[in-house]
């Protein structure tokens, strides 16, 4: 029974394996809408867009922010490869806020030798991180 109610989920990014465990459910931001993956999902290969993955395991919920990537579901094994993935817990809000401020400042200055698209990417990323981290904070407050 144990095996049938769970499936294997693995999230890898260039910085290493971010998550690897047996889970019950995962909500994944696929290219055309969020999909919820449950055990025995049909084999699928899909592009992902940026957003958050919500993982349910051991009565706990875990949020992971990703910026696009690929999803492969095969035989109760789910693999997600993303350029950038980070656990919401690991995101230090202050750090993200600082990065956001810095990126905004840079954008304003429009310095000649700084690549705008890169800064925009940075900004997008820190906004995403903030969003996810704040969500977690709210949740913790409710529990308290």
């Amino acid at each position: 029974m144990e095996n049938k109610s769970k499936f294997h989920l693995e999230i890898v990014s260039p910085e290493g394996v971010i998550f690897q465990d047996q889970v019950q459910e995962a909500v994944i931001p696929a290219y055309d809408g969020e999909i919820t993956v449950l055990p025995n999902h049909t084999p699928l290969l899909s592009r992902l867009k940026e957003g958050e993955i919500i993982i349910k395991y051991e009565k706990e919920e875990l949020l992971i922010a990703i910026t696009g990537g690929f999803l492969e579901i095969n035989n109760n094994n789910v693999y997600i490869s993303s350029d950038y993935a980070v656990k919401a817990k690991d995101i230090e809000i202050a750090k993200a806020q600082q990065a956001k401020k810095r990126a905004e400042e840079l954008l304003r200055e429009k310095a000649e030798n700084v690549d705008l698209t890169l800064i925009e990417k940075d900004l997008q990323r820190s906004i995403l991180e903030l969003k996810v981290a704040e969500k977690i904070r709210k949740k913790q407050r409710i529990i308290q």
Binding site: L45, S81, L118
Partner: protein
């Protein structure tokens, strides 16, 4: 006499100082190698997944009719070479060996992107056409460097101006051996990723072709990042070995100087004693 003793003493001190600096730099490099190897290890699962996925996708896509700028061989003679070197010297023959390879690229149609100050300066001196240059940095190269590189390369590829992109770096073979290596990154070799056509059990979203064209840039990035980490590891390994031998040489010199210092001192004492005993009979 007294002067030369002083001089020897000073030289001994200098040699010992050099040995100490060498030792410190050796230890720094040793710890950096460990970090670099960890980065390689961490990057591995992702690199394997992307390569696997690309191969899976080609099982469903007919590469012959599939068109992507990264796969196209163009008519233009222009080429881009990404050259990677350390920012600093003190790493033995690593830079010299790299430069020997750089000299071979004497071509007017060549566009050069340099990573690392050493190769930037050298390419400037032999008047290569540099379109962008980046510093290598003192820490493991970050992924954002890869994005910056692709930002430079992509416009050339997409408008068909260039189709050939290669990379030159010192490949890490072992701690004692790093050889300059160059290979082609683009166009991606079809046979490298092509695989037998099969009916896959997967459903693809949105379509196999779209997934593949999304995957190819990732594939390119993975290979580029791999080369960057590799070059960084080489730099640290070369520096570690160079500093180790510098330290040993400095210690040898210090030993030799100490020996002559002691001999000198002994001689002086003997002479003084002789003077004293001679003086008694006068």
């Amino acid at each position: 006499m007294a002067e030369s003793l002083q001089l020897l003493k000073r030289r001994i001190k200098t040699a010992k100082n050099i040995a100490q600096i060498g030792k410190a730099m050796e230890m720094i490099s040793a710890s950096k190698i460990k970090r670099a190897q960890k980065a390689v290890e961490n990057n591995k699962p992702y690199a394997i997944r992307i390569t696997d996925l690309t191969k899976t996708a080609t099982e469903a896509v007919d590469l012959g009719s599939f068109n992507h700028p990264y796969l196209k061989t163009g008519q233009s003679n222009k080429k881009i070479v990404i050259m990677i070197s350390p920012d600093r010297g003190l790493c033995g023959s690593l830079n010299t060996n790299l430069f020997k390879k750089v000299i071979e690229y004497e071509d007017k149609d060549l566009l050069v992107i340099t990573v690392g100050k050493k190769v930037e300066r050298f390419a400037n001196r032999i008047k290569l056409n540099i379109i962008a240059s980046f510093p290598m940095g003192n820490t493991v190269p970050s992924l954002s460097l890869v994005y910056q590189l692709t930002q430079i390369v992509n416009p050339y590829i997409l408008n068909g101006e260039v189709s050939d992109v290669s990379i030159l770096f010192a490949e890490f073979k072992s701690i004692f051996q790093q050889t300059p290596q160059s290979y082609r990154l683009l166009p991606i070799n079809r046979s490298e990723i092509d695989s037998e056509k099969k009916d896959l059990p997967y459903k693809a979203e949105p379509s196999w072709e779209k997934i593949l064209s999304e995957l190819l840039p990732h594939y390119f990035e993975v290979r580029l990042y791999n080369a960057l980490i590799n070059a960084y590891t080489s730099e640290q390994a070369a520096r570690m070995v160079a500093m180790q031998s510098a330290k040993n040489n400095a210690l040898d010199v210090a030993d030799f100087l100490t020996l002559s210092y002691n001999k000198f001192r002994q001689e002086r004492i003997t002479n003084e004693l002789l003077d004293l005993s001679n003086g008694r009979f006068v």
